[in-house]
Point group: C2
Chain length 364, copies 2
Amino acid sequence: MSDDGFALTEGDLLPLALGAALLGTGGGGNPHIGMLRVREVLRRGAAVRVVPIAAMDGDARIGAVGGIGAPVVGMEKIRQGEECLRALRAVEAAAGARIAALISAEIGGANAMEPILTAAQAGLPVIDGDGMGRAFPELQMTTFFIYGHAASPAAIADDKGNVVLFREVVDMYWLERFARHIAVDMGAGAGFALPPLRADFLRGVLVPGTVSEALAIGRALLAARAARQDVVARLADALGARVLFTGKVIDVKRELRGGFAVGAATLAGVGDHAGAVAQIDIQNENLVLRVDGRALAMVPDLIISATLDTGEPVTTETLRFGQRLAVLGRPAHPLMTTPAALRVFGSAAFGYPDLVFTPLAGGR
Amino acid sequence: MSDDGFALTEGDLLPLALGAALLGTGGGGNPHIGMLRVREVLRRGAAVRVVPIAAMDGDARIGAVGGIGAPVVGMEKIRQGEECLRALRAVEAAAGARIAALISAEIGGANAMEPILTAAQAGLPVIDGDGMGRAFPELQMTTFFIYGHAASPAAIADDKGNVVLFREVVDMYWLERFARHIAVDMGAGAGFALPPLRADFLRGVLVPGTVSEALAIGRALLAARAARQDVVARLADALGARVLFTGKVIDVKRELRGGFAVGAATLAGVGDHAGAVAQIDIQNENLVLRVDGRALAMVPDLIISATLDTGEPVTTETLRFGQRLAVLGRPAHPLMTTPAALRVFGSAAFGYPDLVFTPLAGGR
């Protein structure tokens, strides 16, 4: 199935940001500032097409760009706006390749918007897909790297004029370590560019269709709100997710540990779940959902919290006592649950060595 | 005065290492491992000429390489041996320039040897001079940067295959910050290459003749030992230094503060200085010498500690209770004591805002 995609309009931006925030599973940063920047660029006459990877020639080079900051939720700063573009240019020069399109490594949260902004600036299309179909806190946690993409050349740039090129890097873990420390030096508001990906390689490893999916999810939610429908049911439908729990937040614990926001929220069931107690373990994103002590969903499957009344995405840093939430479970893409993938971002990688991944029913 | 320099022989290496360690003023790392590596390369048939900067064409590009580690004395690791060469190649590629010769940024300590090792590997000469005539703990603390050299492109490489290029860097302080953090990630045994220096620029900003000077100092010391002469007097003569104090170490305090080894040694006078008490303030290198509370010498002038009996250089980490030391003061090169230079490595830069630089008598 090959089509030539669609042009992104100003009206798409709000639903896209909403859908991206939901796919952030509690993390990934807020796409709002990025959305405003993209809107500004579109209003000045730029155009961005969202295209399927099948529309690209096999030897076309795709650039993956995004924001990178301190490994702590909520540390995103307002940035100058061309950081990713400068990182991209550095990678192009180092690789001796012209980039033909951009892709998000992480559709969940703020990094849904960054490639669109850079694409608008550079006059390039954006690929409909990403490297995880959700959010994750570290660079190595993408299908691109898991399935063999080189770790260099990559680059990072700030708003002051600094550009650092990771010219030769042993593996994706070294890239994460170097880039994270430079990002912290740069003040937690840096743009990065991963090594250019060949389109024919990307076809086999991307999580496809996630830009249009985020857009559809956001549109469905906005439509449900406008029509005063049951937003949670409509959201579950749009997400291809099940409502695993509904409850009221009765406790939130959070602390910084090794740069991660680590903690747990406890919910007392309401409605169908009255009498039950749920716990969501958090490491930047929602990691594990337990109901009455039993693990119902776990990383890399998506555990999405939204307010019961309006379906607003609730991030791990906006969790508050008294909130009434729906917790939805969405199966991860099959590329995200292979043994190779689970080694990189299965529960063991987050410090739960004894938790064996049990996929949500309805896995794609 | 133009000459074509001299070929470095195996027999030069020990006196050169000894002289470099003395010019390290208590810091700069131990040149011994570098010396062994250079010896190995020379024995395999490599040759290195030490040439004055005047021997180079004005538009020749000079590479400055060295080891960089955690900002703590004594953290040098045994390294693989080609880190500086790989960093140099990355900088050459980024600058689009072929390097015609190498120079040390820091003649004091281990980084006297690194450019010689890299020169032997690359088949290049080494410039007789450096960027400070002593040792200092941070990258910005060289005459190269103080007198306007660009901060990029620079590079750093480790023994595992990682090469990070600082492609565009706002200033020398940013370069220090980025490079230091990457060096810590790399395991404190990395090689760096500064941006290539044009020979005509370098002529006006290097501290000249310091390689042959280190060699002469080491030779004088070895000769004095062999002849059972007064090593301290001979050393003072070779260093162009005055003996400011002789005494016995009665107290040593050291702690890590902001990555620096900070502390002080107290000496009770012996011989001509019997009855007096000296204190040497330390920040990786010897920073200030006070005798009976009066500051006799201070950074950037060189405060050199050597054992009274054999003239062996005493580094800040080998200072021990009971050692009998001579403390010698050697005036810094005039390029090191201008207002611009004092802003970068005067006593205020080390946290002594009230100490006004009073140059040692006999300044060059």
